[in-house]
């Protein structure tokens, strides 16, 4: 999971005025995007698969081969090809999937809501469990509770998620019948829902189809709990560390001197301060869930971006792989940007009126 240092010194220090900051931020994001494109472009170039053959198949004549070779721009210098690639991506064209024979952008738009729904439920579960556990561990630092939270977190860091998924299916689905099996929804319900947002929990609830809602819930709860456990491990650890920092501050003593009750000192005074860097952590673990989703979706036959990516990988569908990678990288950058902005919003010391 991403473990970038969150509390950079510079962030707490004085920042330049808003407009300048926005310009700088914009430039950084644009450059990073350009870099992402360059990396995927170069990966695409080193593939041993001949892109021409991928289009025409290996039975075509030499003249067809030559024509397609020129059509794909493969006779041009590398930088021109990169420029063409940029133009295509900018217009939302990631090429066509070799597997589904559809534009990749369309494929990704179709599978993306499933991944996002799973990640969102997971991050909610992870935050709801991780923050209180982290606070508890910090308050009881060095005592049994702290050790237990630490070990529970370390287990989360150590277990391969695809393995836990398999065991989860074995125990909770096959043996105990507590949850539904792989997939997002039972086939019997699949066609009764009018697709609206693509988020099935939301759609079924809006349309008042509570049977279908329960069915969707039964499907999502196990993979979401597992992914949530992973974010919980990270969130609780960071919460603990931020809370320890805050609880050692002078203003905590001030609050004690004022006779503020202990629960209020912890949950209002200290946590409100710890929340500022925590937002970054939560955004980062949301991004980390995209990573976890690749393996989880494979195990749970979850029809999302992760499964799309692995399917394409196993079938050497390079366009689809690069398109998916690019989208995930883009979301990653976007979430980082968002967490920066939220940081500014939450910390009055950085905020400028």
């Amino acid at each position: 999971m991403a473990d970038t240092s969150v509390q950079g010194e510079g962030r707490r220090g004085a920042l330049p005025a808003w407009p300048w900051k926005l310009v700088k931020l914009g430039a950084t994001v644009a450059l990073t995007f350009l870099g992402l494109l360059l990396v995927t472009f170069l990966i695409g170039r080193v593939v041993p698969v001949d892109p021409v053959l991928a289009v025409i198949g290996d039975r075509a004549s030499q003249s067809v081969y030559d024509r397609v070779f020129v059509e794909l721009g493969l006779d041009r210098p590398l930088y021109e090809q990169f420029w063409m690639y940029l133009q295509r991506v900018a217009s939302g064209d990631f090429g066509e999937s070799f597997l589904t024979k559809k534009p990749i952008a369309q494929d990704i738009a179709r599978v993306f809501p499933a991944t996002m729904e799973l990640a969102t439920v997971s991050i909610i579960l992870g935050t709801l469990a991780g923050v209180p556990l982290g606070v508890l561990a910090a308050v009881r630092q060095g005592r049994l509770t702290d050790q237990i939270v630490r070990v529970v977190g370390l287990i989360g860091y150590s277990a391969p998620i695809f393995w836990l998924g398999l065991l989860g299916l074995l125990v909770f689905y096959a043996r105990l019948h507590w949850v539904s099996g792989p997939g997002r929804i039972d086939i019997s319900y699949e066609y009764s829902i009018t697709p609206a947002s693509g988020f099935l929990l939301f759609d079924t609830a809006m349309q008042g189809q509570w049977d279908a809602f329960r069915n969707v819930f039964g499907h999502i709860i196990l993979p979401a709990s597992l992914l949530g456990y992973y974010s919980m491990a990270y969130i609780s650890r960071m919460t603990r560390s931020f809370m320890l920092t805050e609880l050692a501050q002078e203003y905590i003593i001030t609050a004690r001197v004022k006779g503020v009750p202990e629960w209020r000192i912890i949950w209002v005074h200290a946590l409100r301060n710890a929340a500022v860097p925590l937002v970054t952590v939560i955004a980062l673990s949301y991004a980390g869930l995209l990573e976890g989703s690749v393996l989880t979706e494979t195990v749970f036959a979850w029809p999302g971006l992760g499964q799309y990516l692995t399917n394409s990988l196993q079938n050497a569908d390079m366009n689809a792989v690069l398109g998916g990678t690019l989208v995930i990288g883009g979301i990653f950058v976007g979430l980082n940007l968002l967490s920066d902005l939220l940081y500014t919003l939450l910390d009055p010391r950085v905020r400028r009126k």
């Binding site: 240092s5 990073t32 370390l154 150590s158 391969p160 836990l164 065991l167 393996l295 990988l313």
Partner: protein, 300 residues
């Protein structure tokens, strides 16, 4: 004569004594943490298993036993972890798999650490444009989730354990570069570096001879902390069929192999998972303990 007292003295007589004393104190603090000791034990066990695999494993990891009678046997005294669908002893395969795991961890560390150090120290030492460009590149690599980028690289290079190692190494170096750069920035303006510069040493010499050794220890701690992650990434690639190829006894691939039978023959996929879990837990406990001892501020 090295005694406890000599090591713990408050007035060391020589630099060697001071250094040994410091290491000894670190060691004492480290051994006081039972969880860290468990971690150390697990890692040592992994190394022993890997080195002595042919002696420890009762059966050959690749050759099937009797396919008619010894397929998918549950755990028993003769097969402590059962057998798989090819009638191979799972315990023997796991013992041999320790070699692959150790190989991955070691090679990734050997490839990624120098890259990170080189990029980080160069960036920090020169500053200015060099710094901006190198750090931008680092950021771009950090912008991809690690597993996803590794997937894309393996997809391009073709599946296999070597390519998986290269892909993981390529995606592992950016945090080390960041760290080495931060360390370099604090060292760069130290007086002894200025003195070396005045003696006319070249930049390359200063970076490799004087800055890098000072960054090394913190980068190594960071690499240790990352090892569990490396193991999990390698296992994930193996599970997706992009890492070590069958019949190699790679743990992730073994889970993938046992996946089809999970409902009826649970042990086939469960046992290698336990191995991955225990080993990465071991590295995590070890790394955690190391951080507590060497960097009390971060661990708290």
């Amino acid at each position: 004569m090295i005694t406890r007292q000599w090591l713990l003295t408050e007035q060391p007589a020589s630099r060697r004594q001071a250094r040994l004393g410091q290491s000894y104190r670190t060691w004492v603090a480290f051994t006081a943490n039972p969880l860290a000791m468990v971690g150390l034990g697990i890692v040592l066990l992994l190394i022993v298993l890997a080195v002595l695999a042919p002696l420890i494993a009762p059966y050959d990891p690749l050759i099937s036993l009797d396919l008619r009678t010894q397929r998918l046997l549950p755990p028993s005294w003769t097969h402590p972890m059962g057998t798989d669908d090819q009638a191979r002893d799972i315990f023997s395969r796991i013992v041999h798999g320790a070699r692959i795991t150790l190989l991955v961890v070691a090679l990734v560390a050997v490839i990624a650490t120098p890259i990170g150090l080189l990029v980080g120290t160069t960036s920090g030492y020169f500053g200015g444009w060099v710094d901006t460009i190198l750090m931008r590149i680092t950021d771009i690599f950090l912008a991809f989730p690690r597993l996803i980028l590794a997937l894309a690289f393996v997809a391009a290079l073709g599946p296999g354990i070597e390519n998986a190692i290269i892909a993981i190494a390529i995606t592992s170096w950016p945090p080390y570069a960041r760290l080495a750069r931060a360390e370099t920035l604090t060292i760069r303006n130290a007086d002894h570096i200025a003195a070396i510069r005045l003696q006319g040493a070249s930049s390359a010499r200063i970076i490799w001879g004087h800055v890098t050794p000072l960054c090394l220890s913190s980068v190594i701690i960071r690499v240790t902390l990352d090892m569990a992650g490396i193991i999990l990434t390698a296992a994930g690639l193996g599970f997706l069929g992009l890492g070590a190829q069958p019949p190699q006894p790679e743990w992730g691939a073994m889970i993938a192999g046992g996946r089809r039978f999970i409902l009826d023959y649970w042990w086939v996929a469960t046992m290698p998972g336990i191995a991955i879990f225990v080993v990465s837990l071991g590295f995590n406990l070890l790394g955690d303990g190391l951080r507590d001892v060497l960097d009390p501020k971060a661990g708290k």
